[in-house]
Amino acid sequence: MNFNKNMQSKTTHKKEPGKDQHVRMSGSEAMVKCLIEEGATTIYGYPGGAIMPFYDELHKHQDEIHHVLTRHEQGATHAAQGYARISGQVGVAVATSGPGATNLITGIADAQIDSTPIVCITGQVYEHLLGSDAFQETDIVGISTPVTKWNHQITSAEEIPEVMAKAFYIAKSGRPGPVLIDITKNAQLEEFDFHYEKCTGVRSYKPAPPVDKEKVKEAAELINTAKKPFIVWGQGVILGEAEQELKKLIEKAQIPAAWTILGASAIPTTHPLNVGMVGMHGNYAPNMLTNECDVLIAIGMRFDDRVTGRLNDYAKQAKVIHFEIDPAEVDKNVKTDIAVLGDAKQSLATLLPFIKKNSHDSWLKKFKDLYKIEYDKVIKHDLSPKKEGLTMGEVLKEINKQTSGDAAIVSDVGQHQMIACRYAEFNKTKSNITSGGLGTMGFALPAAIGAKMAAPERDVVAVVGDGGYQMTIQELGTIFQTKVPVKIVILNNNFLGMVRQWQQLFFDKRYAQTELVNPDFIQIAKGYYINAEQVSKREELSTAVEKMMNTEGAYVLEVCVEKEDNVFPMIPSGASVSEIRLE
């Protein structure tokens, strides 16, 4: 195929008065200028040979860009994700070529499946060495293609401003996602005439389809006539900043609304119409009643298999309305009756005037009744246990109490994550930061660093298991070096708990490679000069959490919890949402 070497200019840009002068500079200086222009003033990364010219420029611009040295490139991507998730801004991760670049892949894949806007910049060997298996050469553009929204290799300095502008635009617009820009060393070193214009459009790319008012009217009619309407919202509400519109919708029509794991916190936990989480370890009522509602209104969510359970028995009785920005998600898993394409905020704002005030008291009562069953069977025992060992749930309850529900909770992956998402109280949006789609263990610690740096005014509490903690434990070094005051709660059950739970339920208790013999987490924290405490008794818990929250600076609180507790409710893999188990 006759590919052009240089990217053709098929983009539109914002002309800003007084900014049309060209300044002679190196490619690496241009990279720094681009980041400043895009407001990316806190970035995460790790230096190395092929990215050294860029780091040299960063050194000269320390006052303008705060570069955080993570201890592993994966940590840089997760930190960038945490930064993006709490702020809505684009996170940036930087790495060198070869292993530096390949170490980014897990975070990039995570950002892709969870629609997180990040830009990753990798150094690359000199252009004349491309394809020669040079030292630390790897085809990172090839490797990252399936897990990026867009990627591009720059081989000459002149391409830098346009490609960087395009990278930030693509990462942030429409359904956000990760972008990787690979820049050869010669492109970083070359001098050229720099000139920057922000990207405002790419001709082959439609960020969000326009909202079709006719479809909205059809949806409104269905919603207005529904007897048992049910909303399931996802992260699209948060990414589209449609929280207020969603709140108005559910209040006006009095529709019970549940959330996917990534949708958590868009509506406060205590809102009377917030009926909890859907999915495998979600709440009993919203899962059960998915198969009883007459109109299912899905907003900014993608019917992940962890949400739907067995598709053949998912909401078959209901008419399905899907508000969705990404046309490829419509009818992908669940057939919709009405699809309203477009940005969630715009769609819901268009919908609201057509929605009639309504009430669904007897339908809402069903949610309350089922909540009562779940409370008696599960929640009560999780939050106010009578047994000796500590539960993860009571730790979350204590965190809620000490932070008044204002904290951002950054969870890792596994049992503690499900408990955190089930029981954390959220007053504010963008407060539940977790790895949803990819389920990346090791996410929480570095993501908490990024989140706290993007929102220093907020309490950021990382809740991690003893397994995932050790996957990125080296980022304690980053915490120590930057003095970022994150609070880390290790829920230690000396097991890879979620896998153990499956082994118990589905593999006759054969605990294959799930028991962990752990190090002294307190000594490790102290080795990094981070305050730390371990608790294992109920009477110590409250004081310990309080002390953690009141201590200035970072803090590690290890809570030794019951070894073999299970997370319920649970929809077994391959089962229907109405086959949800309470025990």
Partner: protein
């Protein structure tokens, strides 16, 4: 509810950028789908490339794949069509020993009857070109195989659609 597997011709208009072939083929790879043929070339629009890909999938799968192709940043528009909705051809080349052309009268008849074209002849070999549908190319291949073929190569399918694909309008709309 098992759906019927159908042969579809996919037409994708794209920017002409490095790596896009990889990005598009990855979408088939992640769904574990084998591609029957793939052709990339210029399109009727300057600077715009066109992929023609043939796959056998259900229509439901096809819609999902098209959605995932279409959302790629550098894809302008992706379409899928059935055989009935397109005019399609393949092209092939045969390299055959020149001696046969003179010794085997039958070969000359085959060439004439099949509407194949002799591209070049020299002392050692001659090259035959044939464009047509897959079954015509297959038939010619079978007939010539009896005499011995030195080399054979066939292109992927190329196809134009009976209905319009309004790509130019889409691009013009962006300029406004």
């Amino acid at each position: 509810m098992e759906q019927e597997i159908i042969k579809f011709t996919i037409s994708i208009y794209t920017e002409n950028n490095i790596g896009l072939l990889n990005r598009i083929s990855a979408i088939f790879q992640k769904r574990h789908i084998n591609v029957d043929s793939l052709n990339t070339s210029a399109s009727e629009i300057e600077g715009v490339s066109r992929f023609t890909i043939v796959v056998r999938v259900t229509e439901e799968q096809m819609k999902k794949i098209i959605g995932q192709i279409d959302k790629q940043v550098e894809v302008i528009k992706a379409y899928y069509h059935t055989d009935e909705e397109t005019i399609y051809q393949e092209s092939c080349l045969f390299k055959i020993k020149s001696d046969l052309l003179f010794e085997e009268r039958q070969i000359q008849n085959i060439i004439k009857d099949s509407d194949a074209r002799i591209v070049t002849v020299n002392r050692e070999f001659f090259v035959l070109e044939k464009s047509g549908r897959r079954n015509e190319v297959d038939m010619l291949h079978r007939e010539l195989s009896a005499f011995g073929i030195m080399q054979f190569v066939r292109s992927g399918r190329i196809a134009v659609t009976k209905d319009e694909m309004k790509v130019t309008e889409m691009l013009e709309a962006f300029q406004k």
